[in-house]
Amino acid sequence: MALAKAAGQRDEDGRTSILSASTLVGPATIFVCAGLLLPLLILFRYSLNRFEPRRMMVEALSAENYLKFFSDPYYTGIFWTTLYVAGLCTVICLVLGLPLAYALARTQTRFKNILIVLVVLPLFVGNAVRAAGWMTLLGNKGFLNVTLMDLGIIDAPMQMMFTEGAVIVGIVAVNLPYMVLTLQSVIEGINRALEEAAFSLGAGPYEMTRRVLLPLALPGLLAGTILTFILGMNAYATPVLLGGPKFKMMGPLVFGQFQLNNWPFGAATAFILMSATLVLTATANILVQRRYRR
């Protein structure tokens, strides 16, 4: 009843309809404010405080945590690694995901729903369990090494676990379903006749993709890219479990600082990570939209 009333907007005076609209938007707004904005504000305030080993957090208003981050090559190195890994994973997801999403969107089979479930299947497994799976595959005594040695292709086990490569493979495996599902739903919305029109006008598959499919799928490409990039930037379990103690990314770094009770520096790191992610996705969004806006 309340819903119908709010949606109908047929109240006699305007105030009641504003009231009922606020009952619809209200709970979610309160939840977001209390659960996200407030902690962020508090965290931001923390990031301006000072850390002293004995007294822990000391009230202050200084940018020294931010300066510390950007002046120490150890931390900037972690920052660039994170950017590089997230960027590379996004590109790989895009390249692997697009053909898969296209095939999924255009298939006529009645098993389509099953195929979609298969794509999402990796997400049914938790991060830790999945990482354990990769370990049994990539470890020094793991399936790949043992098989290769049994076949006599290699003599000694190759180091695959605890490498950058392992982390990239792990993140791609988690992010790919997001990319595929986003692209698939957008491609499904593109009329098949448009592709055929391009073919009939003399465009081969490559030209059709470049001139028709990609520009029309752009909103999906952008959404999928942003989604997988954000997930990559903030990856935690995969770099910890597959990268090992020597491989550092921003997510584990932030949490590590909190574990050391260095809340001010942890908070500053968190804000750097968040800002970098936001700025990069916003820039990409604007650049791409400007390039393709007609």
Binding site: E196, A197, S200, L201, P215, L216
Partner: protein, 350 residues
């Protein structure tokens, strides 16, 4: 511009034959219409010509050259889709330019070619618009310009008018036909609308269940339909089932004795066009057949009036009267005399 030949084209989907042994020969500059109810194979036939459907067997030739195995983008066929399929992210001019760019036409020649194509469909002032800013009729003409601009060997139209409203459709029919004639373009159009087919075609192909039922001019199909399906699908027909008892003598299921034309003795069906049956006054000249009946239903169509007249317990025929002042229409329940000559009814036998 070219001659198009289909030879024994069959397309099978599993057990189902979507197109069954279709052969066509479309002359240079001819406008051929594939007509039939939905699912009759006409669209699959068109898509085979365009290259989107690979026939299970048979061949497609354009100007004598076998193109059966060529992909759509190498066929040089201009295609207009039912949904127009204009590229929504490109302007009208860019849509029209697409085919030229794919053919690597020199950049310098393009503006003139685009302008010429848009002038042809009277849209030269709308080149900078996006498709969504155009009306349905305008979008349809952009689709036509886009298909014509690269001078295709053949023009293919897939129900191009079905998304237009009725009034506009009549104008566009004439427009497309005149344009096609002016350019001398070999054209194949698919439609389920018989009026559209009759207005536009040089020749028509009636299809059902994947097979060609009859190929011919409007006159051929209407006056000499090959079978009951064609007689029913092109125009309207009254069908009277019965048997031919002796040459020229037909006995209907309802027991009427009807004088008919050629036919061997045995089961037969008479097909009678509603407008060829006369309502006879008391002083009318004698006809071969004369039956008394009662008007059971009447519909006033403006230019004509349809009478549904029961002439026996098993037979009711529709008679179309031209609406003229001197034809005072009968009323429901009135008794009327119907008459027709023996050659008026067509005889179908298996």
């Amino acid at each position: 511009m070219a001659r198009l030949q289909l030879t024994n084209v069959t397309k099978r989907y599993g057990e189902m034959k979507a197109v069954d042994d279709v052969s066509l020969d479309v002359a240079n500059g001819e406008f051929l219409v594939l007509l039939g109810p939905s699912g009759c194979g006409k669209t699959t036939t068109l898509r085979t010509i365009a290259g989107f459907v690979e026939p299970t067997s048979g061949s497609v030739r354009l100007d004598g050259k076998d193109v059966t195995d060529l992909p759509p983008w190498k066929r040089n066929a201009g295609l207009v889709f039912q949904s127009y399929a204009l590229f929504p992210h490109l302007t009208v001019s860019q849509n029209v330019a697409f085919g030229l760019e794919m053919r690597k036409i020199p950049k310098a020649d393009m503006p003139a070619r685009i302008a010429e194509a848009l002038r042809l469909v009277r849209l030269d002032h709308l080149g900078e618009r996006l498709p969504r800013q155009l009306s349905g009729g305008q979008q349809q003409r952009v689709a036509l310009a886009r298909a014509l601009v690269f001078r295709p060997d053949i023009l293919l139209l897939d129900e191009p008018l079905s998304n237009l409203d009725a009034k506009l459709r009549q104008d566009v029919r004439v427009e497309i036909r005149e344009l096609q004639r002016k350019l001398g373009l070999t054209t194949v159009m698919v439609t389920h609308d018989q009026e559209e087919a009759l207005t536009m075609a040089d020749r028509l192909v009636v299809m059902s269940e994947g097979r060609i039922r009859q190929i011919g001019t409007q006159h051929d199909l209407y006056e000499r339909p090959a079978d009951r399906f064609v007689a029913d699908f092109v125009g309207r027909s009254n069908f009277i089932d019965g048997t031919i008892e002796a040459p020229g003598r037909f006995r209907s299921g309802g027991g009427l004795e009807i004088a008919c034309g050629e036919g061997r003795t045995g089961t037969a069906t008479l097909a009678l066009r509603p407008e060829r049956v006369a309502v006879l006054g008391s002083d009318a000249a004698a006809t071969d057949n004369r039956f008394e009946g009662r008007v059971e239903f009447l519909s006033y169509l403006g230019a004509a009036i349809d009478l549904h007249v029961r002439i026996s317990h098993a037979e009711r025929v529709i008679v179309q009267l031209p609406n003229r002042p001197e034809n005072a229409p009968p009323k429901i329940g009135d008794a009327v005399n119907l008459g027709w000559n023996r050659e008026t009814a067509r005889v179908f036998q298996d």
